[in-house]
C-alpha cells in the first residue's frame, strides 16, 4: 500500500501538485488520469521518491519512503519511467537482469535463479526472442516491453508505471495492461487514454488544476459530469457488457469562450 498525504510540488513558482493525498491499495490497480500538464507524472514521481515533497509524507506499507534505504525502496517499488536509456550498449538480457540488483548483495553475481526470473519476465511481455539483441536497436514498443520486463524482474510489491502504453500499438497496449491486471501487486499507472483506464483500473485519481479533481472507483470517477469540466470536451458514457466506454465530442458553443477565459 502506498499512501501519500498532503504532498506538493512546484516547478519554479508554479505549483503543479498542491497538497494532494492519494492511496494505492494492495492488489488493486490505481490509475492517475488528467489532461496534459495536470501533474500526473509529477505525482507518480512523488510516490516513488524521485521527487521529495517538502510538505506531507509518502509511506510504503506503513514506512516512510524518505527513510527507506535505496535498495530497500527498490525491493518494494518497481518503476517504469519514461526515461528510455536509449544510449546504453547493454543487451536486452543484461538490462532485464539489472532488475535483480536490489536483491543481490554487492559481491553477489546473478545466479541461475535470477536468469530464470529474467527469462520468464521477458516471456511475459512477449519479448523472449529479444534477449540477445542490443537494447538501443529496439523499436519504441519493444523497448517499452523490455523495461516492463525489468520492472517485473525486480519482483517488488508495488509496480508504478508512467504511461506504459506510450509507443505501443493497440494490441500491446491491451496486453501490457492486461498483464498489469493479473499481477497481485499494488499497481499505480499514469494513463492518457481514458478507455484504457476504464477497462483496466480499479481506482482512479483525476488530476485537474493543482490538485485532485476526483478520486474513487473507476465507476465513480469516469462520470461525464466530473470529466467534462476538467478535460473541456464533451463525453458520452456507454456501458456494453458491463464495461465502461467513453465517446468524445467537441463541446460546440463555448469553445471560444473557454479559450478566451
Amino acid at each position: 500500500m502506498i499512501q501519500a498525504t498532503g504532498v506538493s510540488w512546484r516547478y519554479d513558482t508554479n505549483p503543479v501538485i498542491d497538497g494532494v493525498s492519494v492511496t494505492a491499495r494492495p492488489g488493486r490497480v490505481l490509475g492517475l488520469i488528467g489532461p496534459n500538464g495536470s501533474g500526473k507524472t509529477t505525482l507518480l514521481r512523488l510516490l516513488y521518491g524521485a521527487l521529495r515533497s517538502r510538505s506531507g509524507q509518502v509511506t510504503v506499507d506503513g514506512d516512510e519512503l524518505a527513510t527507506l534505504p535505496a535498495r530497500e525502496a527498490a525491493r518494494r517499488l518497481a518503476v517504469v519511467v519514461q526515461e528510455t536509456g536509449g544510449e546504453t550498449a547493454l543487451t536486452v538480457a543484461e538490462l532485464v537482469l539489472l532488475g535483480r540488483g536490489p536483491h543481490l548483495s554487492t559481491f553477489q553475481r546473478t545466479s541461475r535463479a535470477d536468469h530464470e526470473i529474467a527469462a520468464r519476465c521477458l516471456a511475459r511481455v512477449g519479448a523472449a526472442h529479444l534477449g540477445a539483441r542490443a537494447f538501443a536497436q529496439l523499436s519504441g514498443g519493444e523497448r517499452q516491453r523490455v523495461l516492463i520486463a525489468r520492472a517485473l524482474a525486480q519482483q517488488a510489491t508495488h509496480l508504478l508505471l508512467d504511461e506504459p502504453t506510450n509507443h505501443l500499438d493497440i494490441r500491446y497496449q491491451h496486453e501490457i495492461l492486461q498483464l498489469v491486471r493479473t499481477l497481485d501487486t499494488c499497481c499505480v499507472v499514469v494513463l492518457h487514454d481514458l478507455n484504457l483506464a476504464a477497462r483496466y483500473c480499479d481506482d482512479l485519481v483525476l488530476l485537474g488544476a493543482g490538485g485532485v479533481a476526483a478520486a474513487g472507483t473507476t465507476d465513480e470517477v469516469l462520470d461525464p459530469g466530473v470529466l467534462e469540466p476538467v478535460y473541456g470536451i464533451g463525453i458520452q458514457r456507454l456501458e456494453l457488457d458491463g464495461a465502461i466506454h467513453l465517446l468524445f465530442h467537441p463541446i460546440d458553443q463555448p469553445a471560444e469562450e473557454r479559450s478566451a477565459a
Partner: protein
C-alpha cells in the same frame, strides 16, 4: 516458483554463462599478453636484453630463482633499477587511466568522457607543480606531491561538472568545452608557475606535465602508492559494476533500482581524482588512454561494467607499455614524450567518435 517448464537444468538461459566463459578467456589471454608485454618491454631499449635473460633477472630478484647469476651487472642494473619500475609504472598508468575513463563515461553517460579531455589531468598537474615549487601540502611529507595532485584533480573535476551542469542536463558539447576550457586554464597556470618560480626544476619540465613521461619511474613510495590506489580503484569499480550499469542508463533508473545517484557519483569522482592525482604526479599528464581503451573493452566483452572494468585495465596496461616502448625506440637514443604517441593514436579515434555522435544526433 516452478521453473521446470523453462529449463531442463543445463540450458544457459539468456546466454549469460557463455558470456562469462568468453570474458574469462579474454581475461586469461590479456593477462598472458600483459606478462609477455612486460618481459619484452623490459628487454627493449637502447641496450637490448633478450627476454629469457630479463625473465631470469626478475625471477632471481623476486623469488631467488635461478640462484646462479648468468648475466652481467650492467644488465641487472638496467632491468631491475631502470626498466622494470618504468614498465610497472606504465602498466599502472595505462590501467588506471583506462578504468578512470570507464568510470567517467558511466557517470556522465557520455562516451567522450576521459580524464585528460575533461581537464582532470591538468588539475592534477597544477596541484603537483604547486607542491614541487612552493611546497604546497608539505604537511603530508613524502605524499605531499600525490596529495596536492589529488586535490588539484578533485577541484578541476568538480569545476568542470559544475560548469557543464549549469542550466540543466549535461550535454556532450558542454562537457567537452568546459573540460577543454578548464584544462587550458590549468595548463597555463602550471606552465606559468614553473617559469615564474625560476627554479631549475630540471627533471619535471613543462613538457612532463603536458605530455607525460615514464622516465622518472623508480622503486619508491610513489610507485607503491600508485599500485595500491590503482589496484583498489580497479577492484572497487569491478565490484560496483552493476551500479555503474544502472548509473549509465540514467539517474531516475538508477534510483528506482536501488542506487542513490548523487552519492555514488560523488564517490566515483573522488576515486577518479585520487587515481589521476597519483598517476599524474608519477608520470605527468598522458592523454587519450581513458578515451580509447573503454571503447575497445566494450567492443570485446560488451557493456556490463563488471566485465568492462577488468578488461579495460588489462588492455590499458598493455597499450601504454607499448606506447612507451615506441616512445623510447622511435628516435633512440632520444626519448619522445609518451603523450605524443597516445595523442597520435587517440586523436583520430576521438574524431571518429564525434562523427558517430553527429550521425546519431546525440
Amino acid at each position: 516458483m516452478t521453473v521446470t517448464a523453462l529449463a531442463t537444468g543445463e540450458q544457459d538461459l539468456l546466454g549469460i554463462a557463455a558470456q562469462r566463459r568468453r570474458t574469462g578467456l579474454w581475461l586469461l589471454a590479456l593477462t598472458a599478453g600483459l606478462l609477455v608485454t612486460g618481459v619484452v618491454a623490459v628487454g627493449s631499449g637502447a641496450v637490448g636484453i633478450p627476454p629469457p635473460t630479463v625473465a631470469r633477472i626478475i625471477g632471481h630478484h623476486l623469488v631467488g630463482l635461478p640462484g646462479e647469476v648468468t648475466w652481467t651487472p650492467p644488465q641487472e642494473a638496467i632491468v631491475w633499477q631502470v626498466r622494470l619500475p618504468r614498465v610497472l609504472l606504465g602498466m599502472l598508468v595505462g590501467a588506471g587511466l583506462a578504468v578512470c575513463g570507464v568510470a567517467l563515461q558511466a557517470m556522465v553517460r557520455n562516451v567522450l568522457a576521459d580524464p585528460y579531455l575533461l581537464g582532470i589531468n591538468s588539475g592534477a598537474s597544477s596541484g603537483a607543480a604547486a607542491a614541487i615549487l612552493f611546497g604546497a601540502g608539505a604537511g603530508f611529507g613524502q605524499y605531499a606531491l600525490s596529495t596536492s595532485a589529488f586535490l588539484g584533480a578533485l577541484a578541476a573535476s568538480l569545476l568542470v561538472f559544475l560548469i557543464a551542469r549549469s542550466g540543466g542536463r549535461v550535454t556532450s558539447i558542454r562537457l567537452l568545452l568546459s573540460g577543454v576550457a578548464v584544462g587550458y586554464a590549468l595548463y597555463a597556470t602550471t606552465s606559468f608557475l614553473i617559469f615564474a618560480s625560476g627554479s631549475a626544476e630540471g627533471a619535471r619540465s613543462v613538457m612532463f606535465w603536458l605530455l607525460g613521461s615514464l622516465g622518472l619511474a623508480r622503486w619508491n613510495a610513489l610507485l607503491a602508492v600508485a599500485a595500491i590506489v590503482l589496484i583498489g580503484t580497479i577492484g572497487y569499480l569491478t565490484v560496483v559494476g552493476r551500479r555503474l550499469d544502472v548509473l549509465a542508463i540514467g539517474e531516475e533508473t538508477a534510483q528506482t533500482l536501488g542506487v542513490s545517484p548523487d552519492r555514488f557519483r560523488l564517490r566515483l569522482l573522488v576515486l577518479v581524482s585520487l587515481s589521476v592525482g597519483v598517476l599524474v604526479s608519477a608520470a605527468g599528464s598522458i592523454g587519450f588512454v581513458g578515451l580509447v581503451v573503454p571503447h575497445l573493452a566494450r567492443r570485446i566483452v560488451g557493456a556490463p561494467h563488471v566485465r568492462v572494468v577488468p578488461v579495460a585495465a588489462l588492455l590499458g596496461a598493455i597499450l601504454l607499455v607499448w606506447a612507451d616502448v615506441l616512445a623510447r625506440m622511435l628516435l633512440a637514443p632520444q626519448e619522445i614524450p609518451i603523450g605524443i604517441i597516445t595523442a597520435l593514436l587517440g586523436a583520430p579515434f576521438l574524431l571518429v567518435l564525434i562523427r558517430r555522435l553527429h550521425a546519431t544526433g546525440a
